[in-house]
Chain length 373, copies 2
């Protein structure tokens, strides 16, 4: 994997970059829509291309449980399986495994857990997680990490940091043996909101050596300003010649602020999850499309948006469909929400290309793109 | 509305035609996907265009109840409301009103019924049904008719035929006063499977005079061979210079056989409804995509299909998604099913253009396109 900086913002740490692998080129900063089970809800694989997404995120934990990584390998790998032939990043599933709380036991070898699907027992080790993802053939591979909850005390977070580093080392060794040529393994930095633990984690990960750095354990319930503060503290320490992936983020305002802090890659369930609750993300804020004020509204969902949804449907139709619990309404909103994120990232990249990112960012944040959305 | 015959099959009654209205041109025979509430489930308005559908069907009864025809008129009419700017046919809702059984009372004036939405009482008259559809602005308008159940005795069907004719006359008078320039009102022929009642109904409808003839009360539960026999008996009596709309049909094999009997327009919930039960309509028969035999199948849904779904996804992904009750699986199958119908109609039209319809029809029916699908 090659990472180049194409343009550096002169007022912030934001940068326009390009990741090149044996399978393709992807300009950063980018946002990855989430297709946990191999498909993004309400969008066909060709819709993602149409919307302008270069990289999709899927989940190794879920695909391991069902239908199984060996099956996907036999079918021809994750790109053939999902029908998405651009980039695919697979999350390791560390976050999901740790979320099982009472149904898992953590040791230095890995995590023993009870499958939420059929109750069977599984042992997730760093090595198994590499076996899964190298079988899948995803472009960007994540190691097993320990992601403590946002309310964990310092000692718990320290243990997690140290274990994450030991597992990162094992993961790299295993990955080097099993990898396909186009695959790249990222290192994950933990440490919660404890500055010195983040720094320790980063140093250990850098020492092992990875072509990309992921910041994990953010956006897991902690205070938003603490999160941004923590990223701000960490960002001067990040190597400039590697892509920085901020896992699980987030709100459009947070993405903008994080890009300004030098972050390059994002993923979040927000556009699809909000869509399924009839919430539209627009340039003037979040709209609850169940609200009767839209019942006879002939305007588009977002008057500043030129996506197919906004060019096609009036708010009145969308309100009508969601009030009837008609699935088409939620599909329409989700499509727009995805378009909103795709367009935001494209605007960010274009602003960086023209060295106007700071102005673009200010103008967005002065409007309503701030955390409320 | 102008209807021209572009090509007449020399071996069957099938014909290639063109309907021209002030809004557009639509080649027949065509199939209309069903968007009861104003949207076709699992397909965006632009997908319908992409798939090759010229005309969509919606339902006046449902849109009258929610969100109301006046609201749709205020928003700019049904094309603006639905975002579908090609042809739209609205069914009157006669079938839906009569399906309410205990919750409706039929008189010569109309049908008094209790709303299934909120229990309020409504009086559906031929005049109101015209007011609704002229407000909506659909291209093809259907009058209120009485559609008796398939097990009705002769006397019941005769009463329905006579009432349908009286209502047709009232509808025409009302339509002429209220219509928009691009709108055309069809006459509906009832009569169940009683040959002489079908003939009586047709003669009365022809005498009143309509630019298009719809055959109603088929595919409502009667024996399939009785239905085709009845259409066969009726077909020599139909005026050749008007389009023939066979309402509510149906299976691909039945559509082929009905085209051979001179039918020009079709609608059915089958492709979308089957899609939502994980049943795929393919050139080799109906496939239940929940079936484990597809779990590691790397082939397309239908190897004889070149639709986007068949070019993009392996059966293994679809099986995986439907087994997980992931809505994406049903969306994928529905998209293919719609593509199957669009392609079938396009193939029929092309075969007619080249005077090869009979051979095309035989070859389809010799394969598995027969009623089983």
């Amino acid at each position: 994997m090659k990472f180049e900086i194409l343009a550096q913002c002169t007022k912030t740490k934001a940068r326009l970059g390009r990741i090149t692998t044996h399978r393709g080129e992807y300009e950063t900063p980018f946002f990855m829509p989430v297709g946990t089970m191999g498909a993004v809800k309400s969008a066909q694989a060709w819709d993602l291309v149409d919307l302008g997404f270069d990289v999709m995120l899927s989940n190794a934990f879920h695909l391991y449980l069902r239908p199984g990584h060996d099956l996907i390998k036999d079918v021809g790998g994750i790109h053939k399986f999902t029908g998405f032939d651009r980039g695919i990043l697979t999350d390791s599933g560390g976050y999901q495994v740790f979320s099982l709380s009472e149904h898992r036991t953590v040791t230095d070898e890995g995590v023993l857990f009870k499958s939420p699907v059929d109750g069977s027992m599984h042992n997730f080790t760093p090595e198994l997680v590499m076996e899964i993802q190298t079988s899948l053939g995803s472009d960007f591979v994540m190691p097993l990490d320990e992601c403590p909850s946002s309310v964990s005390d310092e000692k718990t977070v320290q243990t997690a940091v140290e274990r994450t580093s030991r597992w990162a080392k094992k993961s790299k060794e295993s990955f080097e043996k099993l990898r396909q040529e186009h695959q790249s393994l990222f290192g994950i930095v933990q440490g919660g909101v404890y500055e010195h633990l983040r720094e320790q984690s980063l140093n250990e990960i850098l020492e092992i050596g990875f072509p990309g750095i992921a910041l994990g354990g953010f956006a897991v319930g902690e205070d938003q300003s603490a999160m941004l503060e923590s990223i701000n503290e960490l960002s001067p320490l990040l190597p400039l010649d590697k892509p920085h992936y901020l896992m699980g983020l987030g709100y459009p305002g947070d993405i903008l602020k994080s890009v300004a802090l030098g972050m390059d890659m994002f993923d979040c369930v927000l556009p699809t999850r909000l869509g399924r609750t009839a919430a539209a993300i627009t340039s003037t804020g979040r709209l609850n499309m169940k609200n009767s004020q839209y019942r006879d509204d002939s305007g588009p969902l977002d008057e500043n948006c030129d996506c197919k949804v906004c060019q096609t449907y009036p708010r009145a139709l969308i309100n009508h469909l969601v009030k009837q619990d008609n699935v088409s309404g939620l599909q329409i909103i989700t499509w727009h929400n995805l378009a909103f994120y795709a367009k935001l990232m494209k605007s960010i990249r274009n602003a960086l290309r023209e060295n106007k990112f700071n102005e673009f960012c200010d103008s967005c944040l002065k409007n309503t793109l701030i955390p409320g959305i």
